[in-house]
Symmetry: C2
Subunit: 420 residues, 2 copies
């Protein structure tokens, strides 16, 4: 028996910050609440699944004509086509011109991994990345591991308690040739001149946009509205990458249903990029998983099922909005100091509570309500069973910490250019 | 509209050699036959799926209690446990000692990607890899891309028409500290002293073994027998990696059901290695796909279903053996020159026909029977519909090319140390 291990120099890895969930799980307090789940939750506290997904899953498993062969490296063709049509609209000029394509990836993390590998190999001038702070932990670290210098930015103004279009416009004051990772900026409410300024700065500085669309339809329930930003960029002839995930808006979390979307100036360039991506995906996983993609394709390609899915999105979004209204109303009735209108002014499952770091700490430590440091929570985690406890907790946190600090987190002096 | 593309310097990628299938698909000849599918085929020419898989898939899709949340980065725990018990045996000393673990990966390509990334980061002395030639194209290139120098080897002796244990023993005459990728060497029929020599050379040279077990149960239908090599290495206290794929032996090809197995000298070292692998998997895909793993776990953990699965493996292996017998018998009846006993002496779906490169070329060009250059075919692609055409083709190829070359491929002068 050898006594020296080949692995003797391998240390235990430091865990990522994502240990809020771990701390929550280890907490014995009976009324503990976790408000930072990545996925949309039902009123009963389970991960939401569109009903039509369950039905389609059953239909598929009963279909003897299906085969379960390896997918090609690029993935399920019909899935990519249907998803791109969903993202850009069926009559998108870029689709008609054959300059939009995609690689079916293992979820959005796979899409980022693939896109970042490509940028490292083929876009060598870009070595600086600006990433929206909510994506810092997941995707920012992958950029960093591959040698990029990563800065995070946030368009949330904790003083004014809103998404500030001016902050977004300041973000593009970043150096020439960077990669700019953008999430949904629907709540920024840019004016037409704001849009024009944003576009022209990105263009003149040759900034490469890398969009992140993790849950189309779960912001406003209007599928087109939720990807309006992409239409703007396509119409202006931009080339870009986009990570499109279909996990959260269908409720297929465990199947890696992502696409790395590529928009190029013409079909020839597109084919070159896709061919290089194919080589990278071949080494990464060779064949992406099929089940989730197969379910989604069946739904997107069948008008009746598509209608059911859209209806389910609508119900979810209405439910989240109702929850937000209730939170606001309860805080009003409790007489909690401050204005809480920003809660209902934000779209989507995740939004800022507008608490400062002391208040967040108070909720975590004293009330066992687990909230990330930046105060951005998943509103679908709030339901009839816990809303009173949560709003009373917020009220207590605000009353007991209010005097010591106004709503600006202490440690954040500037909003852009914070290096990871 | 910008006229210069960001991607203007990106060329079209060169395709990998795997274009035999492409040539086959483009061939208009009505009787064309492809004998190089990666998966086990049924007599009807479809990818084989164990019947119990279909049944279990249906059961799972009808179970309302299941949730479809993201899996943890390390994957489905019960899947890993059940698969490791399958690989090493339930009462394996290494499992009892808690020094065996695994990461659920996106298929075997994902397992190799993860393992190679780890070796690059943490086993820096090993920069040379010897890989069995059948895995060269898939996994050898990934090693190469990550900076390893890759040599291929084969244990098949095309002169003697058998797996030669001496070649295997020569393979370990490789430099100190290499990585040695080994497939199933069951057909090598090593003697006890051969085993002892192999082990002692690998140990004294500090060679790191990386096993590839792509289809346990599809060699001999005896699950234990098929991984005997692992038991030898475990019993001798070796540390190693193993890519375990459960795609082919269950017939779940499209779901990425792989595991990177780690065997360490003790639990402490194991946990360090797994923690580093978790960090790497987080960046690669964050959450592995669930469906395939869930189906397999249900089968492995239910004695009745397990029995059905084992029975289905038995039928497949018997069927392949029968096909091999028929091929041999038909060649005998045709009076084809040469001895064809090697066909039935090899285990598993894939085996060498024992043809030289001229004969292979003849079959591809003249008969439209698509065979890889090394003459290794998938015997499950031969069925009642095509066996006569194939054996008559082989007969013709041997008769018309026999005189010009004996059974040694021209271009292969040495069997080991061929650099990629």
């Amino acid at each position: 028996m050898p006594t020296l291990s080949v692995f003797m120099d391998v240390p235990l890895a430091h865990k990522l910050e994502g240990s809020l969930l771990k701390t929550y799980k280890q907490d014995d307090y009976p009324n503990k609440i976790f408000l930072a789940y990545r996925v949309c939750m039902t009123n009963e506290g389970h991960p939401w699944v569109s009903l039509v997904v369950q039905k389609t899953r059953l239909q598929i498993s009963q279909d003897p004509s299906l085969n379960y062969e390896y997918l090609p490296t690029m993935g399920l063709k019909s899935f990519i086509q249907a998803s791109l049509a969903l993202l850009f609209g069926k009559h998108s000029q870029a689709i008609v011109e054959n300059r939009v394509g995609g690689v079916h990836t293992v979820g959005d993390s796979g899409a980022f991994q693939l896109g970042i590998q490509f940028l490292r190999a083929w876009h060598k001038d870009a070595r600086i990345v600006y990433i929206i702070s909510s994506q810092k932990e997941l995707h920012g670290l992958v950029f960093q591991d591959m040698g990029f210098t990563v800065y995070e930015y946030s368009v949330w103004d904790p003083k004014k308690l809103c998404m500030d279009p001016d902050i977004l416009l300041n973000v593009v004051e970043i150096p020439h040739g960077c990669v700019l990772v953008m999430g949904n900026i629907i709540d920024c409410k840019l004016t037409p001149s704001g849009w024009a300024k944003l576009m022209s700065m990105i263009k003149s500085k040759q900034i490469f946009p890398f969009f992140d669309i993790p849950c189309q339809g779960l912001y406003t329930s209007d599928l087109e509205e939720d990807t309006r930003i992409l239409q703007y960029f396509v119409s202006q002839g931009f080339e870009f990458f986009c990570s499109q995930s279909l996990s959260k808006n269908f409720g297929i979390y465990d199947e890696g249903v992502g696409i790395l979307v590529v928009v190029a100036v013409n079909n020839q360039q597109l084919l070159c990029v896709l061919s290089q991506l194919e080589g990278l995906a071949q080494a990464l996983w060779l064949n992406p998983p099929n089940t989730g993609a197969r379910i989604i394709t069946s739904i997107l390609c069948n008008p009746a099922l598509l209608g059911e899915w859209k209806q389910s999105l609508k119900e979810v979004v209405e439910n989240i909005m109702l929850t937000k209204e209730k939170v606001k109303e309860k805080l009003r009735l409790l007489g909690t100091p401050g204005s809480w209108g920003h809660i209902t002014e934000q779209s989507g499952t995740h939004g800022y509570l507008g608490l400062n770091s002391q208040q967040v700490e108070y909720l975590v430590r004293k009330k066992h309500i687990y909230i990330p440091k930046n105060g951005q929570i998943n509103f679908s985690c709030i339901n009839a069973n816990n809303i009173n406890y949560i709003t009373e907790g917020i009220n207590e946190a605000v009353l007991l910490t209010e005097s010591s600090e106004m709503c600006l987190p202490k440690e954040k002096k500037t909003l852009i250019g914070i290096k990871l």
